[in-house]
Amino acid sequence: MSPDDAVLSFENVTKRFGQRVAVDAVDFALTRGRTLGLVGESGSGKTTCIRLALGLERATSGTVFFRGVRLGRSRRSLRPVRKQLGFVFQDPYDSLDPRMTLERIVGEPLKIHGVRRSERSERVRAALSDVGLPDAPLDSYPARFSGGGRQRIAIARALVMQPSALLCDEPTASLDVSVQAQIVNLLLSLKQARGLSMIFVSHDLGLVRRIADDIVVMYGGRVVEAGSAAGIYERPRHPYTAALLAAVPGEHPRRRRITSARRAIGEASGSPAVDSEPPAADVTGCVFAARCPRADRSCRTTRPALELLPDGRKVACFFPVGEEGTSDAASGPADGGEVVPAVPVGPLSAHMQGAAGVSGGAAVTSGVDVSLD
């Protein structure tokens, strides 16, 4: 991607909180008109990236650029950028002031950026209809709305300034599953209608798959893999990405077999169990080494750089998945079929004991014990 295509780019951005590194020398860019899925488990630094872009945190080092302009530190210099950056936070019960009416909530950015009062109600009304709340009374309070309704209000607030980019920080994570789809569909249609560039932070890979064009996978504050969404879903190269994808439940019965196979391998290759504390600043080597089955001594001493592979993928790994020349069924571009094993088993063998506790047809636990030879 050429740099002038970048709406928002992170260049070597590091954010430390005391001894902990939340974001560690991160490099990625949001391309105009595209949606970037920022994925990773809790504590991987996804949200911190969004907060850095919004100026809610200041980078310890490195720079965030918005359309080629360096994000300054002062509020005055951030103002024009903030006008162009809409945002949606995770929890709509927290992000809307319970003591404000809809008109004041959605109209707040307008007020901040000096839009005349007479014009405001009209634009608030328009923004609310855009998010599917055309009849919401402007003098009502957020308490009247459900989670989905509140998130729509938050999206209306994000869009009322007609921004060029939208940053969504897990906008569906605190919503009911049935409502999640509505919100994602709303974001998709808004994006198409307005040509918005969007960063969509999520740990839900199923959702990201629906909405993202590009994917950036973060682990322990670092970008471990980046590339097109289609490519990454079909053929993850970083062991962590592979493990993460393997943990996604199947979406379709026909895929279930493949997914469970993936899961077995995924569990073996470093379970994405939550380890929410960011790693200490003095970790040398690969941040994923401790949980990675492919790691050898070099992974623990030297940090792999994010390198561009021939297929356009960027991976920070010395031993990317699918490069040993073993049973590499998935090598080459995905040939149309959904059912392609994404991760070659390689020389691993997994013994599973006491797999999957299933009750009443619903998979409650998958207490899989795995041992490696």
């Binding site: 919004l54 809610l56 006008k83 707040e108 950015p109 901040i112 309070y141």
Partner: protein, 290 residues
């Protein structure tokens, strides 16, 4: 107002403490407002205001329902003007001390950094001061009068609300709607005005009667010690002080202003308790800090 419409009907009952305390306060205020009706508090009626032996008249004497003091002045009138003093001090020092505390708490909690360190260390010092001693020291360097009382009370009473506001602001600034306002480009002032202040109001309103009770009590203490309102201006505190010397011959000089002080302070506390019932998350507020 539309705000009221949103509230589920009948969820909040007015607590009896609020009714009782409020009623007493209204009566005390009416008493203070009606003060001119009860005569001149400074008139020393040495002929009819004292007994033949020169003693103060007791309660229910002819012309003096609550008796007279050692100088033959009407106790009823002095108590009414004393109520004016007390309520005036309570009202003004409440605004100044809570106002100063709120500003400091907001600045420290919202802007953090250096301001936070400085302000909160001063707050610690303010909370650690021995009140009476500090007040007496201040009294020696300030010109006397009711302004002095208000300055002293403000100087000693701002720290507790500052601490309360600071804690609340720290909690609020992590809330999504505050961050959303900042991320939209709002100035600190506008975020404070539109998001923080409205959320601080219930706490401040609940705290203010407690603060007023302390202020009235403290004004009386200062006047009693001679560091407050100057005689001959009536204050319950200096009336108690006067009454002390005549305790054996005219106990009403002590218990009348004492009772007024007690009842008024209690009424403020009852109102404060009542407001706490309306805001259950504020039960941590307590009278006299601590």
């Amino acid at each position: 107002m539309s705000k009221k419409r949103e509230r589920p009907a009948g969820r909040r009952r007015i607590p009896p403490t609020l009714v009782v305390g409020g009623t007493i306060l209204v009566l005390v205020m009416a008493f203070a407002l009606a003060a001119p009706l009860f005569g001149n508090p400074l008139h020393e009626n040495l002929t009819n205001g004292l007994s033949v032996t020169g003693m103060p008249l007791g309660p229910f004497s002819k012309g003096y329902v609550l008796g007279t003091d050692t100088l033959g002045r009407s106790m009823l009138s002095r108590l009414a003007y004393g109520a004016r003093t007390s309520l005036f001090v309570a009202f003004v020092s409440n605004i100044t001390s809570i106002g100063v505390g709120t500003i400091f708490g907001l600045v420290a909690g919202f802007y953090r950094g250096f301001a936070e360190t400085v302000v909160m260390r001063f707050t610690d010092i303010g909370l650690a001061l021995p009140y009476v001693l500090a007040a007496l020291v201040l009294a020696t360097i300030l010109p006397s009068g009711i302004t002095r009382v208000i300055i002293i009370i403000t100087a000693l009473f701002w720290a507790y609300p500052a601490r309360l506001v600071y804690g609340e602001v720290l909690r609020l600034r992590g809330r999504g709607f505050v961050e959303a306002s900042v991320a939209s480009g709002a100035s600190g002032r506008s975020t404070i005005r539109s998001h923080l202040f409205p959320h601080l109001m219930p706490m401040l309103v609940t705290y203010s009667p407690l603060n007023a009770a302390s202020a009235i009590f403290f004004e009386a203490t200062l006047s009693y010690l001679g560091a407050g309102v100057n005689p001959p201006t009536a204050s319950w505190g200096n009336m108690i002080s006067d009454g002390q010397s005549a305790l054996s011959i005219a106990p009403h000089l002590l218990y009348e202003p004492g009772l007024m002080l007690l009842v008024t302070t209690a009424a403020f506390l009852l109102v404060g308790e009542g407001l706490k019932v309306l805001n259950p998350d504020l039960t941590r507020l307590s009278w006299l800090g601590a």
